[in-house]
């Protein structure tokens, strides 16, 4: 069937650095730490690896280094294994994972590493703001001084206008995600915040404020994938990739059919649910792309967890808490775990695998069997959705 993987692929090892301002670690050291942890978790020496896919948004601008595929293969002692950099702005990690999965499903390789890395704190805030804006349309959005937060702010404004979402509801995802992050030892912000603190934090792009926004972070994440048959020999707890789906949309917000959601999320998740043979109601735990508060509100709607316009009320009722109907961002999400852009999509996979194995510690979602990751590039021009299931 079109849209289905040609053979079953499983995740057998996961690793990630802590996320944050890691002044003492270089770009390649970050990737190596995550990669070694994933190999150790999979019980592999490294000799088994046949290919590497690396998600990275903008090493060229952040650390003045392109050709990072070679750099990473080299510094991690993996030459001549083929290494490929994958770029789709903030969806680079999710897309790198997808390409690793597709390569294994095709039969070309058996054991592959998918990783993601970003080193963002070597530049000033103004530079980081400009670099992140390259994920939008440089000629027709950024030219006019439109920043990345401003794009999501315009989506928030429209969501508030059309559905009556209020400023307090907008603050609920960040508050939840900070609370979850206190249970994640690798998160950047391990402290709670209140609705009042979000609403009174410094304005960035009205109506969004500082605590509506994910931070600038350093970090890396890596996972090992292989055929399910092989995975069962390597581990007692393989997590199978039930679906891998991707959709594109216009790079500029003004060319989209709506501003109150991401059509590419709707399309990618529709394809993923169909391939996995499930519906949104079957998902127990999801890591969604909450680069801004409004982004998580739109995500839970576009993924079908609630109807369009009803997220605010669902947050008030606790639907997305760790013990809620569907746990959303138990890791703390991009907001509180941190958002090293190229790494985030892979870190989402790390969290879902740990959840489905039952190894998520204090933030464990009870009885989690089906998990989903949702990774967005730019303001919605690329969306990658994966569905996972415990394979026992």
């Amino acid at each position: 069937m079109p849209g289905r993987l040609k053979r079953d692929v499983a995740v057998v090892g996961v690793g990630m650095t802590r996320f944050g301002e890691l002044w003492d670690m270089s770009f390649d050291e970050l990737f190596i730490e995550a990669g070694l942890e994933a190999l150790e978790d999979a019980g592999l020496s490294g000799d088994e690896i046949e290919a590497i896919y690396v998600g990275n948004m903008s090493a060229g601008r952040f650390i003045d280094q392109e050709h990072v595929a070679s750099l990473i293969a080299d510094r991690s002692g993996m030459t001549p294994v083929p290494c490929t950099r994958v770029e789709a702005a903030c969806a680079s990690g999710g897309l790198a994972f997808r390409h690793a999965v597709l390569a294994v499903a095709s039969g070309l390789f058996d054991v592959v590493i998918a990783g993601g890395v970003e080193k963002m704190t070597d530049v000033t805030t103004e530079e980081a703001t400009s670099i992140l804006a390259t994920a939008s349309d440089q000629e027709w959005e950024a030219f006019h001084g439109v920043t990345f937060p401003a794009l999501y702010a315009m989506m928030a404004r429209r969501h508030m206008h059309e559905y009556g979402t209020d400023r307090e509801e907008l603050a609920l995802p960040p508050v939840k995600n900070h609370r979850n992050a206190t249970k994640n030892p690798k998160a950047q912000f391990r402290f709670e915040i209140t609705v009042e603190q979000v609403i009174e934090s410094p304005p960035i792009a009205d109506p969004l404020r500082l605590l509506d926004c994910s931070p600038v972070s350093d970090g890396a994440a890596a996972v090992v994938v292989c055929p399910l048959d092989m995975a069962k020999e390597l581990t007692d707890t393989p997590v199978v990739v039930k679906a891998s789906a991707q959709a594109s949309d216009a790079i500029a917000l003004h060319d989209r059919e709506t501003l109150t959601g991401l059509p590419a999320t709707v399309e990618a998740s529709r394809k993923a649910y169909k391939a996995a043979g499930i519906g949104p109601e079957d998902v127990d735990v999801a890591e969604v792309h909450d680069c801004f508060s409004i982004a998580e509100i739109m995500a839970v709607e576009d993924l079908g967890f609630v109807e369009k316009g009803e997220a605010g009320e669902a947050y008030r009722e606790g639907m997305f808490e760790i013990d809620g109907e569907v746990a959303v961002n138990p890791s703390g999400g991009l907001k509180a775990k941190g958002h090293p852009v190229g790494a985030s999509g892979v870190a989402q996979v790390v969290e879902i695998v740990e959840q489905l194995r039952g190894e998520a510690g204090k933030r464990q979602v009870d009885g989690a069997e089906i998990g989903l990751t949702h990774n967005v590039g730019g303001s919605g021009g690329t969306v990658v959705v994966h569905v996972f299931e415990r394979a026992d």
Binding site: E139, E141, H161, A205, D206
Partner: protein
């Protein structure tokens, strides 16, 4: 943005020249080479927009990118042109608190940003409220 890159789009930025597909009739700004509705059966020609429209959504940028440090806070918006397309631009000549969804606006020629003291100065049509 380099001089040639800016120069290529001067007609679009100074006169709001976009495109219209002769096959399906949909108008586009910014201009498109390929019609997404008709693909290979489409045929594009230039189309000059009136510059009139209304605010569809907006934000006030408080943390500016490089080149806009002196302007912040400033209002940016997505404007629905009377001919149909949505377009992104600054909303100028008014206080941020005056801007609201549905507010009528018209295009106006503005200095947008400059690359340092000796670099290129960028101009473009932006939007201002229609005052009656």
């Amino acid at each position: 943005m380099s001089v040639p890159r800016f120069w290529r789009s001067i007609e679009n930025r100074y006169r709001l020249v976009g495109t219209v597909c002769k096959n399906c009739g949909e108008k586009f700004f910014p201009p498109r080479v390929v019609c997404p509705n008709c693909r290979r059966s489409g045929e594009m020609e230039e189309y000059e927009f009136s510059g009139r429209g209304e605010v569809y959504s907006y934000s006030v940028v408080r943390v500016p990118p490089e080149g806009f440090e002196d302007k912040a806070p400033y209002v940016v918006g997505i404007v629905k042109l009377e001919e149909g397309p949505l377009v992104t631009g600054m909303i100028v000549d008014c206080e941020p608190s005056e801007v609201e969804i549905g507010m009528p606006v018209e295009a106006t020629f503005r200095r947008v940003s400059e690359e340092g003291e000796d670099g290129v100065i960028y101009y473009s049509l932006e939007f201002r409220p229609v005052r009656r």
